[in-house]
């Protein structure tokens, strides 16, 4: 499970957004548990996941808020956008409507988060190539035009799931180093927490195994 609670230097807050059924909770589960949930119940409001990763020698804890994609929960989940350092915007490559709604999700994200928030576009279910409904080039162009990072991933096979979360953290960390992300701002979604030896539960059981990137 998660590593010792005091054995990290930063805490980054992530939100995962996107239409219902695109695989947000499966992506989170694949990232935190290294498993695929075949039959995942729909998310009610917000669910929560954590994991500790390492970026440039720094241990970073990710606090990931997985939001419900149903339209009826949208007003409720908007309250959790504030203060997110990273936003993972997910669509389903086999369902065109989920891609068409990205503009609406992006507008919400821009309006409700800090300008320094890193937004990562994920096209999930890339293992279902036969049912593809959105081309990589089209989505890549959309990401480039809006200043987003982009990758196609598969929560089932684990392809690029690790990469999406890690690249977001790297970019956030880079913003901190460049001074563009103000650590002193309480709503930046980042907590700077120097390690404190002598505390209990110092064991670091962070999983260092990384999935091979097939793409």
């Amino acid at each position: 499970m998660s590593a010792g609670p005091y054995n990290y230097s930063y805490i980054f807050k992530y939100i995962i957004i996107g239409d219902m059924g695109v695989g947000k909770s499966c992506l989170l589960h694949q990232f935190t548990e290294k498993k695929f949930m075949a039959d995942c119940p729909h998310t009610i409001g917000v669910e929560f996941g954590t994991r500790i990763i390492e970026v440039s020698g720094q241990k970073i804890k990710l606090q990931i808020w997985d939001t419900a994609g149903q339209e009826r929960f949208r007003a409720v989940t908007r309250s959790y956008y504030r203060g997110a350092a990273g936003a993972l915007m997910v669509y389903d490559i086999t369902r065109r409507s989920t891609y068409n709604h990205l503009s609406s999700w992006l507008t919400d994200t821009r309006n409700l988060t800090n300008p320094s928030t890193v937004i990562f576009l994920i096209g999930n279910k890339c293992d279902l190539e036969g049912q593809r409904d959105v081309t990589y080039e089209e989505a890549s162009k959309f990401a480039e035009e809006n200043g987003l990072m982009f990758v196609e991933a598969s929560a089932k096979t684990g392809d690029n799931v690790e990469e999406a979360f890690l690249e977001t953290a790297k970019k956030i960390y880079q913003s901190i180093q460049d001074g563009r992300l103000d650590l002193n701002a309480a709503e930046s979604g980042v907590q700077h927490k120097p390690s404190q030896p002598g505390r209990n539960n110092l064991t670091n059981d962070q999983q260092t195994n990384k999935d091979n990137c097939a793409c």
Partner: protein, 561 residues
């Protein structure tokens, strides 16, 4: 119904399917999931604390003192102070001041009405007098607001005077047109009523002159129609006493503040200072953390460290569900809502739960009844477990969190936000480098060494050279020659050839030349050594000098013979 639920899980599954037209693959979800399994034993002991009596859902969402709407800021004196400062920093104080003056004006009228209602008595024989409306009377029974006193000071302005004349013109015209009405009106007013009304008319005029008139010092720039309407209202004592003549302007400035300034205020240092005040007041409640997104972020991290994350996770999910159901009262889909509730039940309450919270069977039965009861889904089906979780969070974790490093970190970040903006870098000029001082030191050291050298050299010469008394006398008489000779010796220090010796010194005394050169070399080398080494060097030099002297004397004897 309860006995039915006590049967096997297969029956549970059937019931779910019958309750919903959609097929819920509950079993598959249970088998394929392996979430955190965290039990919270204290939940068992909360059954009999009277929480069963809580059956009404609080329809209004609970608020955090850390999150404010504009209406809440206007009702909170502490937050209002920061908001006024913020509006001043944006050169928009006129809006908030206008709103406050109107609010004070209305509250004064309301209080006056309450006191005056039993005292109204008609005086049939009293006649109306036009001049009474323009007479300024002091009424001791009413305290004027300090803002009104400030308004009075501005009456001396010429522009305000012109505006006053204009308003008086309207008053005269209106009164002349409705003189018959004035008689009937005044017949029903008592002396006290007239005086009180006069005060309010004056106050209304002050607000008008300050904020609404075209030449107002703090013009809020409302529309022409609203201004004209107010002009007619403030000329009519009846309309003034109703107290709503400024409602349109008040709503107008409220909307401006809410649309153009309030969101920026929430992100400003002033609101940050208010949050710091709340967090350091010692009265932080659980709702302050649960209903503020930033505080919730830190509180969630704290519960994660305490291995009680599931409690808050359930609270968030159930609260969101109930909030969503109440938000869409008219468009409420019973089947969809029931499916949502079943998802949460399966995750936190059922016997195969992925994240069992440890509730007792009694609570679980009640939740089951609320979800799949005879009357269908109850909107606040999770109300009882929510109350229990809130009590557990408040009793077991709130105080610990407020004393934790995470809370201190949260507070210090808020403080740093305020300080970092007001911080100005003061670069102090470095002190001048000590090169000058060291130069002086080296110079003084050099001078001291030179003085020592001169004295020692003179002493040696006087002792060793008895036959050369004439030369010593010359050197003592002429100090400049001493300096010059030593400098020459040093300059020719690198050359030890016979030609060099002859060139720089007197021809009749070549032996002395060699003697001086060696002596100078020894002294020159000792420049770079410590005092202790200098003493050693002096001793060595004396020995060498003696040897050279003895050799020189021996060589001179054969020449003489």
């Amino acid at each position: 119904m309860l006995q039915f639920w006590k049967k096997s899980g297969h029956n549970d599954k059937n019931c779910y399917q019958s309750a919903s037209s959609k097929a819920l693959k509950v079993g598959n979800c249970s088998n394929s999931s392996s979430f955190d399994s965290v039990k919270s034993c204290p939940l068992q002991s909360f059954d009999d604390e009277g929480l069963f009596d809580i059956d009404e859902f609080e329809s209004t969402k609970e608020r955090s003192k850390l999150s404010k709407t504009l209406q809440e800021v206007l009702s909170d004196k502490a937050a209002l102070g920061y908001f006024v400062q913020y509006m001043e920093s944006r050169n928009a104080a006129r809006y908030i001041l206008c709103w406050l003056d109107i609010d004070s004006f209305k509250s004064d009228i309301f209080q006056c009405k309450e006191r005056k209602t039993p005292n109204i008595s008609p005086m049939p024989n009293f006649k109306g007098d036009h001049d009474s409306l323009s007479v300024s009377t002091d009424c001791d029974s009413y305290d004027t607001n300090s803002l009104y006193d400030f308004s009075t000071a501005t009456i001396s302005d010429s522009r305000v005077t012109q505006s006053s004349l204009e308003v008086n013109g309207f008053c005269d015209r209106d009164l002349s047109d409705t003189s018959p009405k004035m008689k009937s009106l005044t017949e029903t007013l008592s002396v006290d009523d007239r005086k009180g009304g006069q005060i309010f008319v004056e106050n209304a005029l002050m607000i008008f002159k300050k904020y609404i008139a075209q030449e107002a010092t703090h013009n809020v720039k409302c529309s022409e129609a609203a201004r004209n309407e107010i002009i007619e209202s403030v000329c009519d004592i009846d309309k003034v006493l109703v107290g709503n003549c400024f409602n349109k302007v008040q709503n107008y400035v409220y909307e401006i503040m809410e649309k153009e300034y309030f969101d920026a205020f929430l992100g400003s240092d002033y609101f940050c200072k208010h949050q710091i005040d709340v967090l350091t007041s010692g009265n932080v409640a659980l709702d302050d953390l649960l209903y503020n997104e930033t505080a919730l972020f830190y509180f969630m991290e704290f519960l994660e460290q305490e291995n009680s994350r599931s409690l808050l996770e359930f609270w968030i999910a159930a609260t969101n569900l109930q909030q969503q159901l109440h938000d869409q009262k008219e468009f409420f889909d019973p089947i969809e809502a029931q499916n949502d509730a079943v998802v949460l039940y399966d995750k936190y309450f059922s016997l195969q739960a992925h994240c069992p919270l440890g509730f007792s069977d009694r609570i679980r039965f009640e939740v089951e009844q609320n979800i799949c009861g005879e009357n269908g889904l109850v909107l606040d089906c999770f109300n009882l477990p929510l109350k229990i979780v809130e009590q557990v969070l408040e009793r077991n974790y709130l105080k610990t969190f407020l004393a934790s490093q995470l809370f201190y970190k949260y507070l210090s970040e808020l403080i740093n936000t305020v300080q970092s903006n007001g911080y100005s870098m003061n670069i102090e000029n470095n002190k001048p480098s000590p090169s000058d001082c060291s130069s002086e030191r080296s110079f003084s050291t050099n001078s001291t060494f030179l003085a020592l050298e001169i004295n020692h050299n003179s002493a040696k010469k006087s002792r060793d050279k008895c036959t050369d008394m004439s030369i010593d006398t010359k050197q003592l008489c002429d100090p400049d020659s001493l300096w010059k000779r030593k400098r020459n010796h040093r300059l020719s220090c690198g050359r030890v050839t016979a030609l060099g010796k002859f060139e720089t010194d007197l021809e009749p005394e070549p032996d002395k030349n060699g003697f001086k050169l060696k002596n100078v070399v020894k002294k020159f080398v000792s420049l770079d050594e410590d005092k202790k080494r200098e003493e050693m060097a002096w001793q060595v030099a004396e020995m060498i000098v003696k040897d050279i002297t003895s050799v020189t004397l021996n060589q001179e004897k054969p020449r003489n013979s």
